[in-house]
Every structure is written in C-alpha cells, then in structure tokens.
C-alpha cells in the first residue's frame, strides 16, 4: 500500500471525525429487531402454509446475500463493455453453473414420470419466441436506465434509496400495463410459440453436458476478455 495513500487516508479519517464528532450510529439493534419480526412472520406464515414460510426464509437469504455482496445483474451485463470488467458476469455464471448441476436432480425424475403441461413441471419452463426477445430487450434497457434490475431495486429499497422506491412503484405499474396488453402479446407471439425444453431435444445427459459446457466456455471467454481489457496500457 503506497505511503502517500496511507497518509491521505489517515488525514481524511481525522478530518471526517472532526466534522462529525459522534461516532457512527449503531444500527445493529434495528437489525436485531427486524430479525425478530422476520421470525414472527415466518411462524405466522407457517401456520397458514408451510411452503410460504420456507419461501419467506429463503427470500430473506436472497436479500441478505444480494445486499452483502453488492450484487447487481444490471452491472453484470453492463460492465463488460462499459468498463471492461466481467467479474459480476462471471459470478452470475457461477450461480447458473451450480444450479444447472443440481436442478436436474429435482426436475428430471418428475419429467421422467410424465408431464402433460410444462407450466406445472418443476422449475420454470416457458414458451420461447419473439416475445422473449422483445421482453428481454425491454427489460435489459429498463434495468440499465433505472440503475438496477428487479432484485437490485428491492435490494436498494432495503438500503434506503428513495429513487429505488420510485423504481419499485414504476415496475409495478409496468407489470400492470403489461398485463393489460397481455392479450395482444398472446395472440401475436405467445400462442404460437413453442416450449423448448432441452432434455426433450438432447435427452437428459446430453442436455446437461451441453449446457454446462456452454456455461463453462462462456466463463472462460469472459475471463480472457477481462484479462485483456485490464492489462492493456
């Protein structure tokens, strides 16, 4: 660590503490209070429907991890070409790779037993088509412009950003508009769109091999890209 930086850091630390003589507020008590409330909510939900309680607890975990790691899907797509960093993108790939290994253990046995309606197959299998492209582009544009994706907005509401609260409301309004126009999209694209479930085409084993290979190759390419963009002078 450069000595110049060390000196500056000490200088500014002293200066900021002189400006605000109070030491930083300890908010851990609020944290403990929220944990207590969350536990109470978990019990309340458990009595109604145990699945809801478990989903609640896991979503707390999601929110905690997303905030602690400053995770941002919008940045994972935006940073590679804006600043040449694929760190976040690769972190998302890690999540996808791990999930792709273990999801089949839950999903394939159910599929094997016979499924008539893919909407009720475990996991999220949905029709793919032009609507996916259009919806995805809209979503991609929206998330970069709004300063965060859906999960990012929720995370940042939890950090105190009033702006993300506005984004939260806007997302809700957007989903309402989308729902209002849903019939149009269904007639135009969705009703004629196929559901492409990879194991149907490749069989169970090959589908997993192909998907994992693709993800790992993309990870490797992202890594090489990152090195290239960050060592050029």
């Amino acid at each position: 660590m450069s000595s110049k930086l060390e000196m500056l850091k000490k200088e500014r630390l002293k200066a900021s503490q002189a400006e605000k003589p109070k030491s930083k507020k300890n908010q851990r008590l609020y944290g403990a209070l929220l944990i207590t409330i969350s536990i109470y909510i978990a019990f309340y939900l458990y009595k109604r429907d145990s699945i809801l309680a478990i989903a609640w607890i896991f979503s707390l975990g999601f929110g905690f991890v997303l905030q602690k790691t400053r995770f941002c899907f919008a940045a994972s797509f935006r940073d590679p070409f804006l600043v040449g960093s694929t760190k976040l993108f690769r972190a998302v790939l890690i999540a996808l790779i791990i999930s792709s290994i273990f999801f089949p253990m839950i999903q394939f046995p159910i599929h094997k037993a016979g499924v008539s309606d893919y909407f009720s197959l475990a996991g999220l299998v949905r029709p793919v088509g032009i609507h996916t492209l259009i919806g995805g582009i809209m979503f991609g544009m929206g998330m970069v412009v709004a300063g965060g994706c859906v999960s990012g907005a929720l995370t940042r509401v939890g950090e105190g950003f009033l702006l993300q609260f506005v984004v939260f409301i806007s997302i809700s309004v957007g989903t309402l508009f989308g729902a209002m126009h849903y019939k149009f999209w269904e007639n135009a694209f969705i009703s004629s769109a196929p559901i492409i479930y990879l194991p149907d085409i490749f069989g169970y084993t090959l589908a997993v091999v192909i998907q994992l290979s693709a993800l790992i190759i993309i990870y490797y390419l992202a890594y090489k890209y990152h090195i290239k963009r960050n060592t050029m002078i």
């Binding site: 896991f58 975990g61 929110g63 999801f103 907005a153 009033l162 989903t175």
Partner: protein, 176 residues
C-alpha cells in the same frame, strides 16, 4: 485478544463480500428454495399482485382482466399478500434491510437529481412491462429458467444483454 476477534467479525459483516461468493450463494439458495418449495426463485409477478391487490381494495377490478383468467383470482381477492411472489418480494427487501442494518449502513437517500427520477420511472415501467411479455425478470426468466433447461432462459439472457447495451448508450448520452 478478544477485541481483535470482535473487530474481525465486525469487519466481516461491514465489508462487502466478494462477487463470486455471492454467485455461489445465489446458486445454493436457489437450489434450496427449489427443493423445499417446489419452485425456484421468481418475483416479478409479486409486483403485479401487490399493486393489483391494492387497486382492488380501492375498487379497481384489476383481477377481472384477461391476464388473470387462468389464475386463482379468488384467493388473490381474499388476500393478495399471501402468495409466494409477494412474500418473496418483501423477503428480499427485509433481507437487504437486515444486512444493511447489521453493518450500520442504512441511510435514507433523497433524490437529488430530477433526471434520475425520469430515467427511473421510464426504466422501471419498461422493466415491468418486459416481465409480462417474456414470462419473468432477471430472476424468474434467467437465474431460474436457465438451470431449468428451458431455452427461453438463454434467449432472455441474450436479449437482456442486447437491451443493456442499448440502454447504456442512452445512459452515457444523457446522464454522464
């Protein structure tokens, strides 16, 4: 000795954790929620149910729309909060609040830039609309769809990338 331990544990919580660990934990949590609740993480529908439920309470028959014809409107009408999507939505907010409080980083941040609000509203509406068309958001149609071996997850991811590219051009042109 005990003091050093306490400081280390405190800084463990107050310093951000590395991205790769976040990715790892998201994968683990998604496997967990899938295993224990029969469905992986998805949340954008929660926004719709929440707003729709509130509007219904003030008399707007949102749930009469064609979109809801295949959904359980009755249970939504009796309680629009008690479904997994709204619960997950608030769970993420709560989890983030807990994390922020435990590292004493919570601060209410006002909006100082009116341009940001316009972009925020525009971007938010665009995002929300896109989720209805594409069957989900960055969680449901991407993080959960790809490991479900559905092609729509890959297509959505590619489309998000394209959209992010276009959006960044817009952003750097108007805000920077």
């Amino acid at each position: 000795m005990g003091n050093i331990y306490r400081k280390k544990i405190a800084s463990l919580f107050s310093k951000p954790w590395p991205y790769w660990f976040g990715g790892f934990m998201l994968g683990v949590l998604n496997i967990g929620i899938f295993y224990f609740t029969d469905e992986p993480i998805r949340v954008s529908t929660g926004f719709l149910y929440f707003l729709g439920g509130i509007l219904e309470k003030i008399g707007v028959p949102v749930f009469d729309m064609y979109y809801f014809s295949t959904r359980d409107v009755q249970s939504l009408r009796s309680s629009f909060m008690l479904n997994r999507y709204v619960i997950i939505m608030f769970g993420i907010i709560f989890g983030s609040l807990i994390s922020t409080f435990l590292s004493s980083d919570y601060k209410f941040k006002k909006i100082k830039n009116s341009k940001q609000v316009i972009f925020g509203i525009f971007g938010g509406i665009l995002m929300g609309y896109g989720t209805r068309v594409a069957y989900g958001c960055n969680l449901g149609a991407y993080l959960s769809a790809i490991p479900s071996y559905s092609l729509h997850g890959w297509v959505f991811g590619l489309a998000m990338f394209a959209g992010a590219y276009i959006g960044s051009k817009l952003l750097t042109k108007y805000i920077l």
